[in-house]
Symmetry: C2
Subunit: 190 residues, 2 copies
């Protein structure tokens, strides 16, 4: 395993154990058995390192979106969207601590914002991708054309993101499966 | 102004400047011109102090929910919900850094979780309150009875919460007003 990989692993471990706030480059360097200087040789800063953890170590939404895109025109729209919502929920549950940690750290968020603006990336892109898939289903006559696809995508992703956050604070009464099924049924109803 | 108030003000200021991660009791004590021991005399821990900031200093959702409840049966349902969504969006924009900071700090989140479980409070309660309002509008025949009120409330609050988070990371293309209007129209459509 290369040094870069070892540093990313160590960062992931440190975030898991101590949170973003406690995942200092000193701790990461000890865990990766390298110097702090070597971390900065591979990553411009903590922002870049944490983004690498997000993009390279955590389950991504991209495969789930690709699978949903593959299922356009096939099977049951509501069932496909429910399966996607459950994957999104799991994804957000895994990433909520990193995203939250960044939000709780003003200098880090400024760095993230600049980096995302430069690369054109961002946590809003899955909403746009989902909206495009919903539009394709509308063109195929499988989804109510009166639905605004962008708004529907905002609501489905937003509900999953919010629920993943809430679950960190309280025990939610209903289980994820029935919750996701009811949310999608309400969203796609005719 | 009493000591307790002065400490809460200092904590709010420290969170704003340094984030949750940097809002140490030492910094808060300096700002409040008191000892760290005095902070712990008024608050069992950082969790309790940060919760006091959330509950006593930030604009609350409760008045917005009360206003929405007052408007049941009056005016246009979609317009009422859109106005509420905009208030929720502003509320979440103000609280996202505190909530996120807690999520990025594993010991803090454990303390928060225990405290919320003990008091029966929690960030999921506004969803339940909104769902109850939607049910009342359904009973009055002003909202499609096919809508699951709980799911609709999850989606509306979730979309607002998610958008407040996204806005910290990227510049969103559409303005809040038209976004909220389209989301509500998609949610309440018949």
């Amino acid at each position: 395993m290369g040094t870069r990989e070892r540093i990313i692993d160590a960062a992931e471990q440190a975030i898991h154990e101590f949170g973003i706030a406690g995942a200092t480059t000193r701790r990461i360097a000890v865990q990766a058995a390298c110097s702090e200087a070597l971390i900065y040789k591979h990553f411009a800063g903590k922002e870049e390192l944490f983004l690498a953890v997000l993009l390279e170590r955590l389950p991504a939404l991209a495969p789930a979106l690709a699978e949903l895109r593959q299922s356009v025109g096939k099977g049951d729209v509501a069932a496909n969207l429910t399966a996607f919502a459950l994957t999104a929920l799991r994804f957000y549950a895994r990433t909520v601590a990193i995203g939250g940690g960044v939000l709780g750290d003003p200098p880090l968020i400024a760095g993230f914002r600049a980096m995302l603006a430069e690369t054109g990336a961002g946590p809003h892109l899955p909403i746009l991708a989902l909206a495009e898939i919903l539009r394709t289903e509308q063109r195929g006559g499988r989804l109510d054309p009166a639905i605004d696809a962008g708004a529907a995508a905002s609501m489905l992703m937003g509900a999953c993101f919010h629920r993943a956050n809430l679950a960190c604070f309280v025990s939610l009464p209903d289980d994820d499966e029935s919750w996701a099924g009811t949310v999608v049924a309400t969203l796609v109803r005719r």
